[in-house]
Every structure is written in structure tokens, then in C-alpha cells.
């Protein structure tokens, strides 16, 4: 019941707004915000819902035992995730009321936002992979629409296209994975069914036809979907560009929820990853690599949103690594304890959602205040002009850096480091720690440059605190950034938290050391500077991935398309269309020559014809035994 309200409310809101926004005008904003608030309230009730897996609507009903319907799977993960989505969604809606006040295309924005809420809800509640895929694509669409909100800007137009296409590549793998599982599990991609199948069904080790390679392939294909959506290497390139969208969008979609959907999905199919050691290692490796890579890139970015974007990339890599690491640990017999243990990745997802959304909204407030200035070197001294924003932003930053024992980020990061440690792979653990260090470094760098010192430009100088309607969400999120990991807070969400184990000393040490070294380094380097004292081109230019990809796309796509088109013209059109036409035309012209108009020629043909016929009938055909 709740589930259907949560799912359908934003759907109708989106439908009404997108189709009728000309007639609705301002009312569309109210509809959207209202629906998000109602959804959130419904979600609070939903937190108490019992575990369930039921069919709401037969979407593709083909008969037989196959039906890919709208199935709602209610368990601890969907409940928790639903809370995050609806809560942050609501706050972003409210924040947008202020942020988008002067935008002409406000209804379109809110319509797309509602569409996103609908799609994200769908992913969270999805009880089977096909439904998940459906909403997976739909969040891609809403992300496309929102990134391209200011489509007149060429960069925004390119960015939304890039985001969609990169995600499509991921979905390509996701779909293959779904198909493989669909085939192997005899037509069911229901998550519960699959879990059973991997435990004791046709996909369990030892079942007839079991193949480890197949399991790995399926896991990696599914993982490719997550790589796209959660912007993992090598499909990470779209996320920084996605910052072309309005900042609330970046907060909601490209920080808190949508990009986390990949992680959520991986956790949902963790049975699959656990079934394949190789896949788990690859996933962990990719996540770890992404985390490190993005962190390095973040250290040299000057655009406030880009720093946050790379930080998001890095954190997503963290989560993905956690998924892999937990699976590796599980393969080593490292079972999680406790009655209802959560997953470290989910836990980090949960805490990260709040503080990263908070940071994005904060940066939005800064941008808003500085008249859409995004370069941190053109800010400075904002601490005094916008105190609320500064303090909330600082809390978020500290949470992200993992200020020990106080912020939620510390606990969740520690859980991941613990998982990496448990995985038995020391490279994972070391890279994770290094990433944590870098995180502290670049975040501190950001805060120091933007908020401390003195204003470096006019716009920074005249910046004032944002209106209340924008402050409120910041404050709410800041509170959550600190409290969300505390026991006793939001009891039902505890399920997201991993079983409480005393942290391993190494892990604890690494975590704290990373925080201190990173912060210290940043303070040492950037305090009072008006210019970046260090310049590493490789990091600033994001390891030249965009350029490399541009070359690859040009060769693999444009050149190939050109060549194939030429070949198609020459061979297909030439051999199948033009050649026979030419032959027939020649034949026709030749036969026309017979008809020269000369009587002697005709008599010759007639006489020759008679002779030929006689030859054929009397001398040839009888021998052929016709």
C-alpha cells in the first residue's frame, strides 16, 4: 500500500507537470514539492513495513511462468534506501524552491525532479532485475533531462548526452547479465528466486551444468551496469561533466542517490558476487582504483562542484570496493556477525548521502550567493558572509573527511577500511587508506580556499547568506551528517549498519592517521594562498581520460562509421543493387541489338532459330533423356 503510494505519487506528479506545465504554471512547483513531502511521510510509515515481495502490476505478462512485473521487494535495504531517497529528495525539492526561483523553466525542472523520484523509488523497490533495469534506464533519462536543464549551453547539452551514453554502455552489460541470469535461472530474475537459486538451485555450485566461468561472467556483466551508473573507472567520465546541471540536481542525483544506485544494486545481488571470487576481486579492484584515481584528480580541481564531483567518484569507488571486499571476505569464510548485519557499502552510502548532499547544497548556496561563480580561487572569506552555509559546509566536510568518533563518515569509512582489511588483500587496504588521506587533503583545501582568507573577487565580497528556505535543508542535512551513524538514532535504519565489531587497531590507526595527515597537509599548503602552490597537470587534466576517450570515440565510432558506410555503399549497394541492374541493362541493350530493323538480320535470325531448334529438339534433347 505504502509502496504503491511512494511509487506512483511522483509518477503522476511528473506526468501532470511534464505534460501540462504550460497550463499549470506555478502550481507545478507546488505539486512536485508537495508530492515529495507526502512521499517522505509515506516513507516514514514504510520504515515499519514488513518484509515482503509481491507483484503490484503485471508489466510484461507473456503467460507461462515468466512475468516481469512491477514487483515490490521490501526488506531492510529497500526500507533504508527509501528513507535516504525520500528524505534527501524532499530536502532538495525544498532547497530548489529557492535555488531555482528565477528560472524560466522551473516547471520542467520540477517535473524532471519528480520523474527522478519516481524512477529512483522504482530502483529501490524493485523486486526483480527487469524492473530494476526499467527504472535504471528511467533514472538515466531524468538525469539526462536535469543535466541538460540549461540546454542552451553547449557544455550542458554535451554533458547530458555524455551521461546518457556512458550509462547506456553500462546498461549494455547490465542487460547481458540479466539475460544470462534469466536463462540460467529458467526464466526468473526475481531477486529472492535468484538468491535461492544461488544457494540451492540451478546456480548453486555443484548443480548440474554449473560453471564458475558463467557465474563470473554474469557477475561482471551485472557489475558493468553499476560501473556506468556509479561512475566507476573506466566509465567515470560522465559524472564530473554532469555538474553542468543545477546544483540541487548534483546534490540529489549525482551525489546522494542515483549514483549510489549502482552500489545498491550490487549489494542487492551480493549473492552473485559472493559466488564468484574472480568477480569479487575485479569489483574490489575497480572500486579501489576509481577511488584513488578520483581522489588524485580532486586534489587539483578549482571548480567547487568538480571537487565535490571527484570526491563523489572517489567515495563511490570506496563503496564499490567495499562490495568486492565483503564478498572476498565472505569467500574466505569471514561471515558477518549479528542478527541482522548491514553491509559496509550500504552504510557508507547512507552516511555519504547526507553529507555529500549537504556539501552539494552548500556549494549551491555558495554559487548562488556568488552569482553563479564556481571557481574557488575567485571566492574566499565566505566564512564571514555566510556563516550558516560555512558551518554546515564545514560539518559536511569533516564528515566526509571522517573526523574520528564525532561524524558519521568516520564510522562508515572505518567499516569499509575494515572490510578491505578483512578481504585479505593488502593493496586494497593500503590504497583505501591513501584515498582517505587524499580525501582529507582536498576537502580541507577546498574549505580553506573558499571560506577562509579574504574575498578575491567582487562577487565573493558581496556574497550574503542565502534565504531561509535554502538554509533549512542545509541544517537538516548537517544534523544528519553528524548523527546518522550514532546508535539509537533512527532505529529502523540500524539495519544498514554493519555488525558492530571492535575496530581492528590497524584500521583505526590508518583511519585517524589519514585524517590528520591529509588535513595537516592541506592547511600547511593552502593557508593564506591566493594561487595554487602546486600544479600537477596530470591530475588537473583528469589523467587525460576525456582526451583519450575522444580519440577512441573518433576512431571506433566516427571513423569506423565512415568506413562501414563506404563499404556498405560499395559492396552491398554495389553488388546487390547496381551490379545486377547493370547486368540486366547490358543484357537488355544487347538483346535490343538483335532488333536492328534490317530484314536480312531478321530472316537470318528466323532461319538460324529454326536450325537451332532442330538441333535442340532432334539432336540434343533426345540424348539428354529429357
Amino acid at each position: 500500500m505504502h509502496a504503491s503510494i511512494i511509487l506512483l505519487l511522483p509518477f503522476f506528479s511528473a506526468l501532470v507537470i511534464l505534460l501540462g506545465h504550460r497550463q499549470l504554471k506555478g502550481a507545478s512547483v507546488l505539486i512536485s514539492v508537495g508530492s515529495s513531502i507526502i512521499s517522505f511521510i509515506a516513507c516514514l510509515f514504510f520504515l515499519a513495513a514488513e518484509d515482503d515481495n509481491k507483484l503490484l502490476l503485471p508489466f510484461l505478462d507473456v503467460g507461462g511462468h515468466f512475468h516481469a512485473g512491477i514487483e515490490v521487494l521490501i526488506d531492510k535495504q529497500s526500507r533504508g534506501m527509501m528513507f535516504i531517497v525520500s528524505f534527501i529528495g524532499m530536502l532538495v525539492h525544498i532547497f530548489s524552491l529557492g535555488y531555482m526561483k528565477d528560472d524560466d523553466a522551473k516547471p520542467r525542472f520540477f517535473g524532471s525532479l519528480s520523474l527522478f523520484m519516481f524512477s529512483m523509488t522504482g530502483i529501490v523497490l524493485a523486486g526483480n532485475l527487469i524492473m530494476m533495469f526499467i527504472f535504471w534506464e528511467l533514472v538515466g533519462l531524468s538525469s539526462y533531462l536535469l543535466i541538460g536543464h540549461w540546454y542552451q549551453k553547449a557544455s550542458a547539452a554535451e554533458a547530458c548526452k555524455k551521461a546518457f551514453l556512458t550509462n547506456r554502455i553500462g546498461d549494455f552489460g547490465f542487460m547481458i547479465g540479466i539475460l544470462l541470469l534469466f536463462g540460467a535461472n529458467h526464466g526468473s530474475v526475481n531477486l529472492d528466486d535468484l538468491a535461492t537459486a544461488f544457494k540451492s538451485g540451478p546456480l548453486a555450485p555443484g548443480a548440474p551444468g554449473y560453471s564458475a566461468g558463467f557465474t563470473t561472467a554474469a557477475a561482471l556483466c551485472i557489475f558493468l551496469g553499476a560501473v556506468g551508473k556509479s561512475a566507476q573507472f573506466p566509465l567515470h567520465v560522465w559524472l564530473p561533466d554532469a555538474m553542468e546541471g543545477p546544483t540541487p540536481v548534483s546534490a540529489l542525483i549525482h551525489a546522494a542517490t542515483m549514483v549510489a544506485a549502482g552500489v545498491y544494486m550490487l549489494v542487492r545481488v551480493s549473492f552473485l558476487i559472493e559466488a564468484s571470487p574472480l568477480a569479487a576481486e575485479i569489483i574490489a579492484g575497480i572500486g579501489c582504483f576509481t577511488a584513488l584515481l578520483a581522489a588524485l584528480m580532486a586534489t587539483q580541481q578549482n571548480d567547487i562542484k568538480r571537487v565535490l564531483a571527484y570526491s563523489t567518484l572517489s567515495q563511490l569507488g570506496y563503496m564499490v570496493m567495499a562490495v568486492g571486499a565483503v564478498a572476498m571476505a565472505a569467500q574466505h569464510g569471514h561471515e558477518a556477525h549479528g542478527p541482522n548485519p548491514g553491509h559496509p557499502a550500504m552504510f557508507h552510502l547512507y552516511t555519504h548521502a547526507f553529507f555529500k548532499a549537504m556539501l552539494f547544497l552548500g556549494s549551491g548556496a555558495v554559487i548562488y550567493a556568488c552569482h553563479h561563480e564556481q571557481d574557488i580561487w575567485k571566492m574566499g572569506g565566505l566564512r564571514k558572509h555566510m556563516p550558516v552555509t560555512f558551518w554546515t559546509f564545514l560539518i559536511g566536510t569533516l564528515a566526509l573527511m571522517g573526523l574520528p568518533w564525532i561524524t558519521s563518515g568516520f564510522y562508515s569509512k572505518e567499516a569499509i577500511l575494515g572490510a578491505a582489511y578483512d578481504s585479505g588483500c593488502s593493496i586494497l587496504f593500503h590504497s583505501a587508506a591513501l584515498t582517505a588521506l587524499l580525501t582529507s587533503f582536498y576537502m580541507m583545501r577546498l574549505v580553506i580556499i573558499a571560506f577562509f582568507g579574504k574575498p578575491r573577487t567582487e562577487s565573493a565580497h558581496h556574497a550574503t547568506e542565502v534565504p531561509v528556505i535554502m538554509c533549512l535543508p542545509l541544517i537538516a542535512l548537517a544534523v544528519f551528517s553528524v548523527l546518522s551513524a550514532w546508535d539509537g538514532f533512527a532505529t529502523p535504519l540500524q539495519a544498514l549498519k554493519p555488525a558492530h565489531e571492535p575496530p581492528h587497531a590497524t584500521v583505526l590507526f590508518a583511519s585517524i592517521a589519514a585524517f590528520i595527515i591529509g588535513t595537516g597537509g592541506a592547511i600547511y599548503l593552502y593557508r593564506g594562498k591566493d594561487k595554487d602552490p602546486i600544479s600537477i597537470k596530470l591530475f588537473a587534466n583528469k589523467f587525460y581520460f576525456d582526451e583519450i576517450y575522444a580519440v577512441i570515440v573518433r576512431i571506433c565510432q566516427d571513423r569506423l562509421a565512415w568506413i562501414v558506410t563506404a563499404l556498405e555503399r560499395v559492396f552491398v549497394d554495389g553488388l546487390i543493387a547496381r551490379l545486377p541492374t547493370a547486368i540486366v541493362a547490358r543484357l537488355g541493350a544487347a538483346t535490343r541489338l538483335l532488333q536492328g530493323g534490317h530484314l536480312q538480320g531478321y530472316t537470318f535470325l528466323l532461319g538460324g532459330g529454326v536450325i537451332a531448334v532442330i538441333y535442340l529438339v532432334v539432336f540434343v534433347l533426345p540424348r539428354m533423356g529429357h
Binding site: Q600, F604, G608, I611
Partner: protein, 192 residues
């Protein structure tokens, strides 16, 4: 017929035929054709087809060839001497003629039918008279009994007994021919 005569007439027929095909002057050709038809008529006679032989001479060598000559004279057609020969046409004509002849000879050679001779199929006229019996006119039967072949009578009997209708159609055809000639050679009126 003695073989010698057969060969003689065959030679006349074919030789003059050859002259028709090769002659440069149309008048020569027409006269050669008439001569060839006379030879052919003789061959008809040698096949006991007296009536046909006579008709051949009367209609062909007589009427038709006169018509040809008449037209040639009327139109005052020059000989072809001035004009160059159409060599490909001649070559192909000869080639086809040779091929066709070879084919016919091959067919003739391969069949028992061709070995029939007048010797092994003597006309047993008296016997035939008995067989024909009442189907024919008494005069035919009488002639047969007398040992002569009443060729003209027999062909006339066949024509009028079996092919009366066809004769009339042929008449119609001749009429159509006449009309055609009139239509096709009408002079244009001076003032239309």
C-alpha cells in the same frame, strides 16, 4: 523413274535454284526460277503426281513467274551490280543453308522411312480398286481396274469429297488477295 532422269531433273531444279539465289539480274533470276519449277514439276511426275506436276507448271512456272517478270519489268528494277554485296549476309545465308542441309541429311539418313522405293511399293492398282470400293466414283474404280492411275480424278474426288469447304476458303482467300492487291496498289487520287 530411272535414276538417271531423277538426277537430271534434280540437277535442273537445284541448279536453276542456285542461279536464282546467285543471279545478279532479276530477270535472270525469274527465268531461272521458272526453269527450276519445270524441273520440279518433272520430279512430281516421277512421283506419279501428274496433276500436281501440271499445276506446278501452269500456276507457278506459268502464272506466278509471269507476274514476277511483269512486276520486274514494270518497276524497271536495275540489277544489283552497282551495289556492293552484303558479305555477312551472304556468308551467314550459306552457312545456314549448309547447316540445314546437313541436318536434313542426318535426319533422312537416320530413318527407315527414307529407304522406301517405288520398287518395293509398287502400286497395285487393281487391288486398290477393290479396297476403295464404293467409297469412290465408278469412273475411278474403272480406271483402276484398267490398270491406269486416274490421278486427276482421284485428287479431284478427294478435294470435293473431303475438302470442299477448304476449297471455298481458298476461294475466299484468293478474293481477299484480290481485294488486297486493289487496296494496296490503288493510285492516290490527285485531289484528296
Amino acid at each position: 523413274m530411272p535414276p538417271l532422269l531423277f538426277y537430271l531433273f534434280a540437277l535442273i531444279t537445284l541448279g536453276f535454284g542456285f542461279l536464282v539465289v546467285t543471279g545478279r539480274n532479276p530477270v535472270t533470276c525469274a527465268l531461272a526460277l521458272a526453269a527450276s519449277f519445270v524441273g520440279l514439276a518433272a520430279l512430281f511426275l516421277s512421283l506419279d503426281a501428274y496433276f500436281i506436276g501440271v499445276i506446278q507448271i501452269l500456276v507457278y512456272a506459268g502464272a506466278v513467274m509471269v507476274l514476277f517478270l511483269f512486276i520486274i519489268m514494270l518497276l524497271d528494277i536495275k540489277t544489283e551490280e552497282g551495289k556492293k554485296l552484303n558479305v555477312p549476309a551472304i556468308v551467314s545465308g550459306v552457312l545456314l543453308a549448309v547447316l540445314l542441309t546437313l541436318q536434313i541429311i542426318a535426319v533422312v539418313g537416320s530413318t527407315e522411312l527414307a529407304n522406301k522405293t517405288s520398287q518395293n511399293t509398287p502400286l497395285a492398282l487393281a487391288e486398290a480398286a477393290g479396297k476403295i470400293g464404293k467409297a469412290a466414283l465408278p469412273t475411278i474404280t474403272n480406271d483402276l481396274k484398267a490398270g491406269t492411275l486416274p490421278d486427276a480424278k482421284l485428287i479431284g474426288f478427294t478435294l470435293f469429297d473431303q475438302y470442299g469447304f477448304h476449297l471455298q476458303v481458298i476461294g475466299l482467300l484468293l478474293l481477299v488477295g484480290t481485294i488486297g492487291v486493289v487496296v494496296l496498289s490503288k493510285r492516290e487520287r490527285s485531289a484528296p
